[in-house]
């Protein structure tokens, strides 16, 4: 892995997103701002700050082809940003939610985006040319906060993960914007042609933190707070793997047979599909015992050791973790390779670091 840089000193990074050429990085340093950094040599330097939200920005997504950024925040709003005349111009989107937005994703064809929120709904937004604004439609049926969403490759099905302990698949088919889904990818037939139809529902034993579709759209992976990672297929079959580690917060499909999940253990873990059964493959962070943080002076260390002996009953002087990340990882993003053939991805988290990993 390569530690790219510390984006936020003394604070978390809520979320991050890359521009298509990876020359620009957008992220939120756990406040109401969205920072855009530009590639400069081997690191990224501050470029602009977008300051339209009032509260913490919880989700950022950068559409690769149309080069639009969509951001959502705890202030119950979302903005679509267009780069015009050298500046990012915001367009407010009326989501009609009365609680915080938790995450946002562009559909693969970039004609719609979905925003999950604490008001137990997902706002699916599409652009209406007549009125020149973004209109939102709500997916209901959740009993609690919707924590994350992911679009199926056909831009019609939407997977959601909620703190009501369920992962669901909805139809987000918008008449006039979407074409009928290809039958070969569609085990639910005509049910998919009505916006808001619940196509599939799976139960978990903990809050479902993140959902992710496989490149073929046949499998939905989700991670839940009961330290499990699960894989549900569109034919209804599901496989759950209970882990001995702390819960995952985020999951990302690397290719059809490989998934990476990361969370409170600060270590991205890869799972592979061997002949139809998913299993844990490896930790990506080798958590080298020798790779510790900067060591203090000898007298300083001795004094600390005796202080620890008195205060904590232990002689160890460890304040740093062995992993690259020093706190939970909350966001994974594709860095190199097309979706479905990912060769590198980046992670950001509560420690404010950005780290790049080889898949």
């Amino acid at each position: 892995m390569t530690e790219l840089q510390q984006l936020n000193y003394g604070g978390a990074v809520t979320c991050h997103a890359w521009s298509k050429d990876r020359n620009y990085l957008a992220f939120c340093p756990d406040n109401h701002e969205v920072h855009i950094y530009k590639k400069s040599g081997n690191s990224y330097e501050p470029d602009t700050v977008l300051v339209d939200h009032d509260q913490v920005v919880t989700g950022i997504d950068w559409a690769p082809n149309s080069n639009r950024i969509v951001t959502c925040s705890q202030d119950r709003n979302a903005y679509v940003w267009n780069f015009q005349a050298g500046k990012w111009e915001p367009t407010l989107v009326i989501l009609r939610i009365n609680r915080a937005a938790t995450s946002v994703k562009w559909s693969p064809n970039e004609t719609k985006f979905a925003v999950s929120s604490g008001s137990k709904t997902v706002s699916v937004c599409y652009f209406e040319d007549e009125h020149n604004w973004w209109v939102s439609k709500h997916l209901k049926k959740h009993k609690s906060t919707v924590l994350s969403i992911d679009w199926h490759p056909n831009s019609i099905f939407l997977g959601t993960g909620s703190s009501d302990f369920k992962a669901r698949i909805f139809s987000a088919f918008v008449k006039g914007v979407d074409k009928r889904p290809d039958d070969s990818q569609n085990p639910w037939g005509a049910k998919t042609q009505t916006f808001g139809n619940l196509l599939q529902e799976w139960s978990a034993s903990g809050w479902v933190h993140q959902v992710s579709w496989s490149p073929s759209g046949q499998t939905l992976a989700w991670v839940s707070h009961d330290s499990a990672i699960s894989f549900g297929n569109t034919d209804g079959s599901v496989q759950s793997i209970p882990m001995t580690t702390l819960p995952f917060r985020t999951v990302l499909f690397l290719n059809e047979n490989s998934v990476v999940a990361a969370g409170h253990d600060c270590n991205p873990m890869v799972f592979s599909n061997n002949g139809g059964t998913w299993q844990f493959t490896k930790n990506l962070d080798d958590a080298n015992e020798g790779a510790k943080g900067p060591q203090g002076s000898a007298t300083g260390n001795t004094r600390q050791m005796w202080a620890n002996k008195v205060d904590k009953g232990t002689t160890s002087n460890e304040t740093t973790l062995n992993t690259k990340h020093q706190n939970a990882i909350s966001c994974l993003s594709i860095f190199q390779g097309a979706p479905g053939k990912v060769t590198q991805f980046t992670s950001s988290g509560v420690d404010g670091k950005l780290v790049a990993w080889k898949a």
Partner: protein
């Protein structure tokens, strides 16, 4: 989600389980007794007594297994059994009785096998013992 089972069904399951467990304990087979005792936990059962008796049964088994035999007994359990055992251990620790010594020894051993994930699942379970 499975359909709601009646209290009577839970009670019946418990009586059968108690018989099996006592059998194994009498034969001196602690590992098997433990596995039997962990079957069909009455999670979310409405009858308090059934749940309490289930917990008491498990604690009886835990107390009867010698310290040295604990790893061997755990080795025969599946991940799902370890999760159930951890739930029973926490329930047992709640009452603060004198058996907490044995329970803490078991807690350390189960954490070694099942990891922190096992503890997380015991805490995240909504249907309580």
């Amino acid at each position: 989600m499975a359909a709601e089972r009646s209290d009577a069904e839970y009670q019946q399951s418990l009586s059968e389980r108690t018989k099996l467990v006592n059998n194994k304990l009498n034969m001196g087979n602690g590992a098997d007794a433990l596995r039997e005792a962990l079957q069909d936990p009455p999670l979310g059962c409405k009858a308090q007594a059934t749940r309490d008796n289930s917990v008491a049964l498990v604690i009886q088994v835990l107390g009867s297994v010698k310290d040295a035999d604990i790893p061997k007994a755990l080795g025969t359990l599946q991940t799902s059994d370890l999760d159930v055992l951890m739930k029973y251990i926490y329930k047992g620790l709640e009452s603060g009785d004198s058996n907490s010594n044995a329970l803490l020894k078991w807690h350390a051993a189960v954490t070694k096998e099942g990891g922190l994930g096992c503890i997380v699942r015991a805490l995240a379970e909504r249907r309580t013992l």
